[in-house]
Amino acid sequence: MIRLANGLGALLALTLPFWLANPYFLHVVIMAGIFGVLALSLNLLLGYTGQLSLGHAGFFGIGAYTSALLTLRLEWSFWLALPCAVALTALAGWLIGRLALKLRGAYFVLVTISFAGVISLVSVNWMELTNGPLGLPGVPAPELGPWSLRAKSAYYYLVLAGVTLSYVVCARLVGSRIGRAFLALRENEPLAESVGVDVTHYLVLAAVVSAGMAGLAGSLYAHYTRFVSPEVFLFTYTVTMVVMVVAGGKGTLAGPLVGALLFTALPEALRLATSWQWQMLAYGVLLVLLVFFLPRGIVPALAAWRERRAP
């Protein structure tokens, strides 16, 4: 049953551009994919190590700017700029992890917020490098041999590959002793240390992987919208990621993806359904209802429901 559903889902994902011809819908799906990578990335920290990063827009933005600058200024290929963007954000994640080594809870949150704030200020004020608030227009679309991935249907597959890669990385980590060490850190730190889990090592590792993944999303975003400005650092992006992870189900593998799909599509659906005055209100009410009735998120609620039906 589950295998059938998974197979159908994969088939659906692989053929999507062929039956979803409407470019607007395809755009929504691509954005959902980019946010899916971000939500997976945040979930690694929030869902598994239990540390809330409110600086994820910072990693996202570093990835976007790195990739945009390398392709624009140095005229590197996208395929070289992407891994560089991932590496540089991973490095930033390592720095934050080291800084926050002994900090947990609210203090960890504060460090990550300040980090994103500082990076955002740099992007606005370092005019020579970033072109300031005007941003960087004309980021080139990736090319694959003779083909350009400029068309939405082509870019969709690039994003799908990014989502799949991120998901596999998360799934493999979570199913290993490394993932168990992440959980141990969330559940009971002193106990984890007592059985030999070097907690700080695993917190730094989680931060590095999580940041690198957010950098991947940033690069995918930059070459999709083909314009990068300090807006990529907006706190709203971080909040959206948190909403996606929490609503989908933090600490589950599928939760962030479900959350990303839902909360990318929802604002668009509301835009079609109601006038702008009601959009944010409806969004807020839906969010409150969701958190109220499914406090652990959609995916855990579905899992519990299935268990009750088939004991």
Binding site: R177, N188, P190, L191, E193, V195, V197
Partner: protein, 255 residues
């Protein structure tokens, strides 16, 4: 494989919680540390296992110093502790709790995991089998799929024991393993501790229950006001006038 504690002292602000304690734990024995509340028993445990930095003194294990190491590094050397207050991974199943305890038995590194190497899958299978064996050893097979925090108190303490055993200790420090248990549950724990020693694991125990202490210990160390006031076989300790005085609270300086 001897644990040697030399002149171990811990200060909390101006208060000496531990004022220069020395003792040795001989390999293959069960050694108990007893003493009135506030005598420094748990403080000594915390200082030995790296949770507290001692103001002075040294702890060596098999001749090598443990002082200054992080708890996880001490665990890697085979010195593993449990906690006085129930301490499990609360929202995970019993099996997952023990799987975390097996951390040091695994070897999978970051790249192995990302590449999904076959060796790692084999290792996971072995670890799962190890976990099952440990869960059976503490008698929680019927609970293996249940969430740790949902178990009755006594069984949570068994989970703790299983998690500690999973870390392959050569010296196991148990901080009041019988606290809050019914006498039936205590009998189970007593039997378990004997079996643990039977597996060649040295046990250092902090415990208030005298029936338990006198029943299983090879050596008893008595702490009072942060100092060792007696050390010896259970029978000798029970007859020691200093110990009786410490426990009954009639000290010589009152007369």
């Amino acid at each position: 494989m001897t644990l040697a504690v030399r002149d171990l002292a811990v200060q909390f602000g101006g208060v000496a919680a531990l004022g220069g304690v020395s003792f040795e734990v001989r390999p293959g024995t069960i050694t108990s540390v007893i003493g009135p509340n506030g005598a420094g028993k748990t403080t000594a445990f915390n200082a030995i296992t790296g949770y507290l930095r001692p103001a002075r003194g040294e702890v060596t294990w098999d001749g090598a110093p443990l002082t200054g190491l992080r708890p996880s590094a001490i665990a890697r050397r085979g010195v593993v502790r449990t906690f006085q207050k129930t301490s499990v991974f609360p929202s995970l199943s019993v099996a997952d709790n023990v799987a975390i305890g097996l951390h040091l038995r695994g070897t999978a590194g970051f790249l192995d995991v990302l590449l999904g190497r076959r060796r790692i899958r084999d290792e996971e299978r072995h670890l799962a089998a190890d976990a099952e064996a440990i869960i059976a050893f503490v008698g929680l097979v019927h609970r293996r799929r249940e969430i740790a925090s949902a178990l009755p108190y006594g069984e949570q303490r068994l989970v703790e024991l299983a998690v500690a055993l999973a870390a392959t200790p050569r010296l196991l420090l148990l901080d009041e393993p019988g606290a809050g248990m019914t006498s039936g549950e205590k009998d189970v724990v007593i039997e378990l501790i004997r079996n643990i020693r039977g597996r060649g694991i040295t046990v250092l125990l902090v415990e208030h229950d005298m029936r338990m202490v006198m029943g299983i210990s090879d050596t008893v160390i008595v702490l009072n006001h942060g100092r060792v006031i007696a050390e010896g076989a259970p029978a000798a300790i029970q007859a020691d006038p200093d110990v009786i005085r410490a426990y009954l609270g009639t000290s010589s300086d009152r007369s």
